[in-house]
C-alpha cells in the first residue's frame, strides 16, 4: 500500500472523532451517521453490475441508551486502528480485536465477537474502504501460482520480491501478499479455481504453462483478499479472468460473488468486484454433454437456484439464465473432478480449450 493511500485512510478515521468533538463544542448531543446495511438499503447498480449500498443512514447517538455504548466502542476501535497504522506494520484479525478489547477502558470490552464484527463493518461503511485497508484481516484463504512478480514488506520491514512460480505449492494469499505491489507479469489470463484438488491438477498438468495463465486457488467461496487480488491483476494488467467451479448452483454463486460481490459486502463491493470475469463452468450443460457422475440437487440447491434466478445480474445474461433453467430441470450437480472420468489430461487438453474458444 502506498503511503499516500495510508494517510488518506488515517485521515478518514480521524474525521470520525472530529465530528463528535464538533458536536460537543456546539453543546449538541454527539451522534454519528452510518450508511445502513439492511436489505432495504441495498440496491443494484446496473452500471457497475453489482449490488451497492444506497443513501439511507442509521444514527448512533450518545443520547440513546441503546446506542451510547456502541458509539463509544466504535470510537475506540477507530482509535485502535489509527494507532496501529501509525506505529506498526501489524495486522489484526477480527477475533484478535475481540480479545484486545479486554485491555481497554472498563465497559468497552466486547461481550460477543458479533459486536466487534458489526463495528468493523460500520467503519468500513463510514469510510468506504474494506477493513483490510485499516489492517483488520481475515484468516488467509486462497493461493496463487504463475508467472507474476510481487513486491512486499516483511514483518521486519524489509522490502522483498517474489515470483509466484518460485513457490512449490502456490503462494498463500495472506496479509502481505494481499498488500503487495504487482511488479511484473508474463501471463495473459487468470484462471480462478474453486477446489484445491483441481488447482493441483491444473498445476500438475501444466495449465499455467500451456495457457500462459495465473492459477488462483479459491478454496471454496473466495475470500475478500483473493477477490481483491483478482480485481487488481485484472485492472492493472487488463487480462481476462475465468472462473472454474464445481457444477452446482453454489459454484455459480461463487463465480457471481467474484463478478459482482455479495450482498453482505454491498458497502464495499466497488472495491472487490470484477464484473468482467467469466464463468467457465462446470455448467449444467456440461453435466449433460459430458455425462458427468452427479448427485441429486438438494433442497438448499433449489433454493439457491430460485434466489439466483431473481437476481438482476442474471436478467441480461442469456447463457446464465439458460443454465439455471437447465439445472432446475436436470436436478443434478457434479464436481469439477468428475471430468477425470476421461483421464487426467482431459481437462487441460480438451475441456478448457473448448471453453476458452466459447467464451472468447
Amino acid at each position: 500500500m502506498k503511503k499516500s493511500e495510508r494517510n488518506e485512510i488515517i485521515e478518514k478515521l480521524t474525521q470520525i472523532g472530529k465530528d463528535v468533538i464538533q458536536a460537543v463544542e456546539r453543546s449538541e448531543i454527539p451522534k454519528i451517521e452510518i450508511p445502513s446495511r439492511t436489505t432495504s438499503n441495498i440496491v443494484y447498480d446496473p452500471e457497475y453490475l453489482c449490488y451497492v449500498i444506497g443513501d439511507k443512514k442509521v444514527k448512533r447517538s450518545a443520547g440513546n441508551i441503546r446506542h451510547i455504548r456502541r458509539l463509544a466502542q466504535l470510537l475506540r476501535v477507530a482509535r485502535f486502528c489509527k494507532e496501529e497504522m501509525q506505529k506498526s506494520l501489524r495486522h489484526t484479525t477480527k477475533r484478535e480485536l475481540y480479545y484486545i478489547s479486554e485491555s481497554w477502558e472498563k465497559g468497552l470490552k466486547f461481550d460477543e465477537q458479533v459486536e466487534s464484527d458489526n463495528i468493523i463493518e460500520d467503519i468500513e461503511a463510514m469510510i468506504g474502504r474494506p477493513r483490510e485497508d485499516f489492517r483488520i484481516i481475515p484468516n488467509p484463504r486462497g493461493s496463487i501460482y504463475g508467472d507474476i512478480t510481487l513486491r512486499y514488506t516483511t514483518p521486519k520491514g524489509d522490502v522483498k520480491e517474489v515470483n509466484c512460480l518460485d513457490t512449490p505449492d502456490g503462494q498463500a494469499i495472506g496479509p502481505r501478499i494481499s498488500e503487495a505491489e504487482i511488479i511484473d507479469c508474463k501471463a495473459d489470463k487468470v484462471i480462478a479455481i474453486e477446489t484445491s484438488g483441481m488447482y493441483n491438477r491444473l498445476m500438475e498438468e501444466g495449465a499455467y504453462h500451456k495457457f500462459n495463465a495465473i492459477l488462483v486457488n479459491l478454496e471454496g467461496q473466495a475470500s475478500r483478499a483473493t477477490r481483491r487480488m483478482i480485481k487488481r491483476i485484472h485492472e492493472l494488467l487488463e487480462i481476462p479472468v475465468y472462473i472454474f467451479t464445481d457444477g452446482d448452483p453454489w459454484g455459480l454463486h461463487i463465480a457471481m460473488v467474484i463478478m459482482a460481490g455479495s450482498a453482505k459486502s454491498a458497502h464495499i463491493n466497488r472495491q472487490l468486484a470484477t464484473p468482467d470475469a467469466k464463468w467457465i463452468g462446470v455448467t449444467a450443460s456440461d453435466i449433460k454433454n459430458y455425462k458427468l457422475r452427479s448427485d441429486k440437487l438438494k433442497e438448499v440447491d433449489y433454493k439457491r437456484i430460485k434466489e439466483l434466478s431473481k437476481d438482476p445480474r442474471y436478467k441480461k445474461d442469456e447463457r446464465l439464465k439458460k443454465e439455471l433453467e437447465l439445472w432446475k430441470n436436470l436436478g443434478k450437480k457434479a464436481e469439477q473432478q468428475a471430468l477425470l472420468r476421461y483421464g487426467f489430461e482431459y481437462v487441460v487438453e480438451k475441456y478448457l480449450p473448448t471453453k476458452f474458444k466459447e467464451l472468447g
Binding site: 472530529k18 448531543i29 442509521v58 475506540r76 482509535r79 477502558e105 450482498a263
Partner: protein
C-alpha cells in the same frame, strides 16, 4: 349340527340388573381405578358432602378429616362436619343406595351432583375390606346421636343395616361423622389427599378444615373470610340448551294445561311475549294442551325457541367464589408479590349456565421455582381436580394461551408456561360436564374454552402491567448509570481520535442526554442473509 335354541329358552335367562351390581363391576367409572386414587376419592366424596351439608344449612363449615394407616394397604378414613346432621330415616338411603340424592333432579350448582359419590365409597369399602361404613349424625344441639353400620345389598341396590343405635353422649354438636375402612395407598405430592385438602381450603375460604395425615401431621386451614357464599338457586332449563327428548317428557308431564303457561313456567327466561313469539313461530295455538301435541308438533316449539332472542341466565343462579374471596384465600395460602383475580359474567353452554373464575399469584415465595412450570389449580364447583389434567378443558385453555404476551416464558408460545406463578381456574355451573363420572377433567366445550381464555387474558393483562411496571423502574435507574459511564468514554476517545488538545466538559452534555426523551429510535440492524464469507 347342534340343536337350535328357541326364543323361549333364551327368554328364561333375562333378568334385571341392579345399578349397584353394575358399578361394583365398573368401579373405575367412579374414580376407584387404583388404590391411591381410591383413597383420594373416598376422602373427596366425604368432604364434598360435608361442605355441601353445612352450606345448605347456612352454617360456616368446619370439617375434620383423619386418615389412619391400619396396614400396608388398609386405611381408616374419618370425616366429620358441623352441618345440620341427617334425619334418621334418610341415613340408610343416602349412604346405602346408589343414585339417591337431593341434587340430581335440580338444576343447581353444587359439589355433588348425581347422588352416587358417597354411596360408591361405601360400596368400595365393603368390596375391599368387607367392613360396613359407620355413620353418626346429630340433628339438634341437645338431641341424641344416631349411629348406623351400613352396607349396600348390591343385588337390590338397597341399604343393609348391620347395627343401629342412638346414644346421648355422641357428637358434640350437630353434624355428621362418617368412618370408612378401605384398601388404599397413600401417596404424597401431586395426587395426594394433602394436596386435595390444601386446594379445597383455598377454594373455600369460608371453610375451616383440620386434617390429620397418615403420618400423624396435623394441618389446620383456618377460614380466611367469615361470610358464606350466597346460596345458589335451583333453575329451570334454559331454552337454548334443552334437548328434544327432555322437552317431550316435560310436555307430557307438566301440570299446566296451556302451551303458553307451560313455556312461561317450565323453562327459564320465557315471559308472555317470548311465549307468544315461540307459539307463533311454531305454528301452534297459545292455548293448546301441551299433553296433546302430536310427535311432529312436539318438535316445533324446540326449533322456535332457538330462533327467539332470550335473556341469558340470571347471575344469582350461580355462586362463584368471588374475586375478593379468592384473593383472600390466595393471600392466606401463599406469600407472593402480586395477586389478581377475575370472575366472569355467567354464560350458557347447552342450556347450562356456568361462570369462570381465574386468579393468579406471582413472585415472592414462588420465586423458589422460577424456571419450573407454573402451578395450575383446577376447580369445579369449589372442588379441586387432581387427575387427568391433560384432558381437561382448563389445561387446554391454559396451554393454548400465548403467555409470552403476559411476560412469562413459554417455549414456542404454547404449552405450559414457566415462571414463579400459581394459576387457579374455577368453573361454577349447575352442571359441570366432566369427561367421566369420576369427575376429574372438564369436557372440552367451545363455550367453556372461550370463557376460560377470556378470564385468563384479563388476569394476564394485569400480570403484564405489573411485570412491566417493575421492569420500567429497574430500567430508569439503569439509564442514568449507563449515561454516566459511557458519555465520558465517548468524548475521551473522540478527543484522542481527533487529536484534540482540549479536554471538554462533560456535564452540559450529560444533562442534555439524561433529560432527552425516552423515545428510542428504532435501530434497523437486520443484516442481510448470506453465509459468513470468512473467519
Amino acid at each position: 349340527m347342534e340343536k337350535v335354541r328357541t326364543a323361549e329358552e333364551l327368554a328364561a335367562q333375562q333378568r334385571e340388573i341392579s345399578v349397584a351390581e353394575f358399578f361394583e363391576k365398573n368401579r373405575h367409572l367412579l374414580g376407584f381405578d387404583n388404590p391411591s386414587k381410591a383413597l383420594l376419592t373416598v376422602v373427596k366424596e366425604a368432604v364434598d358432602n360435608s361442605l355441601d351439608a353445612a352450606e345448605e344449612a347456612r352454617i360456616l363449615p368446619e370439617v375434620f378429616v383423619k386418615v389412619e394407616m391400619l396396614g400396608e394397604d388398609r386405611f381408616k378414613v374419618t370425616v366429620e362436619d358441623n352441618g345440620p346432621g341427617i334425619v334418621k330415616k334418610e341415613i340408610p338411603n343416602i349412604f346405602g343406595k346408589l343414585l339417591y340424592g337431593s341434587k340430581f333432579h335440580q338444576l343447581r350448582q353444587s359439589r355433588g351432583q348425581q347422588g352416587i359419590g358417597i354411596s360408591a365409597a361405601v360400596l368400595y369399602a365393603q368390596l375391599t375390606t368387607g367392613k360396613p361404613t359407620i355413620v353418626e349424625s346429630k340433628t339438634s344441639p341437645r338431641g341424641t346421636t344416631k349411629i348406623f353400620h351400613i352396607k349396600i345389598d348390591t343385588l337390590k341396590n338397597e341399604p343393609e343395616i348391620l347395627k343401629e343405635d342412638e346414644v346421648k353422649n355422641g357428637l358434640k354438636h350437630t353434624g355428621t361423622r362418617i368412618t370408612l375402612e378401605i384398601e388404599g395407598k397413600y401417596v404424597q405430592r401431586y395426587h395426594s389427599v394433602d394436596e386435595y385438602l390444601k386446594q379445597t381450603a383455598l377454594a373455600n375460604p369460608h371453610a375451616s378444615i383440620t386434617y390429620i395425615s397418615p403420618t400423624g401431621e396435623k394441618h389446620e386451614y383456618r377460614r380466611a373470610i367469615k361470610k358464606l357464599p350466597k346460596m345458589p338457586k335451583a333453575i329451570k332449563p334454559h331454552p337454548y340448551g334443552v334437548e328434544l327428548g327432555i322437552l317431550m317428557r316435560m310436555l307430557k308431564s307438566t301440570p299446566y294445561t296451556k302451551l303458553s303457561s307451560f313455556l312461561q313456567n317450565e323453562v327459564s327466561r320465557v315471559g308472555s311475549t317470548s311465549a307468544e313469539g315461540i307459539c307463533v313461530l311454531a305454528g301452534l295455538e297459545l292455548t293448546r294442551r301441551p299433553q296433546d301435541l302430536t310427535h311432529e308438533e312436539q318438535e316445533r316449539p324446540l326449533k322456535a325457541m332457538q330462533k327467539v332472542k332470550l335473556m341469558r341466565p340470571q347471575t344469582d343462579w350461580l355462586s362463584p367464589i368471588g374475586e375478593k374471596n379468592i384473593l383472600e384465600g390466595l393471600k392466606n395460602m401463599i406469600k407472593a408479590e402480586f395477586y389478581t383475580a377475575r370472575t366472569r359474567e355467567p354464560v350458557v353452554y347447552r342450556g347450562n349456565p356456568f361462570q369462570i373464575e381465574v386468579a393468579l399469584a406471582y413472585g415472592g415465595e414462588l420465586k423458589e421455582k422460577q424456571d419450573a412450570e407454573i402451578i395450575l389449580m383446577r376447580l369445579a364447583n369449589y372442588v379441586p381436580l387432581l387427575y387427568q389434567a391433560s384432558s381437561c378443558a382448563i389445561t387446554k385453555a391454559v396451554t393454548k394461551t400465548n403467555w409470552r404476551r403476559y411476560g412469562l416464558e413459554q417455549s414456542g408460545g404454547k404449552g405450559m408456561p414457566h415462571g414463579p406463578m400459581l394459576l387457579l381456574v374455577h368453573m361454577a355451573s349447575t352442571w359441570v360436564p366432566f369427561t367421566s363420572e369420576s369427575k376429574e377433567a372438564i369436557a372440552n366445550y367451545p363455550e367453556i374454552m372461550k370463557e376460560i381464555k377470556l378470564a385468563i387474558q384479563d388476569c394476564g393483562r394485569d400480570l403484564l402491567r405489573y411485570i412491566r411496571k417493575q421492569a420500567r423502574a429497574r430500567r430508569e435507574s439503569r439509564r442514568l448509570d449507563i449515561f454516566q459511564k459511557y458519555l465520558p468514554l465517548v468524548i475521551e476517545n473522540a478527543e484522542i481520535l481527533a487529536e484534540s488538545k482540549k479536554k471538554h466538559n462533560i456535564e452540559p452534555i450529560l444533562e442534555k442526554v439524561v433529560n432527552a426523551d425516552l423515545i428510542e429510535e428504532e435501530e434497523e440492524e437486520e443484516i442481510v442473509g448470506g453465509e459468513n464469507e470468512e473467519e
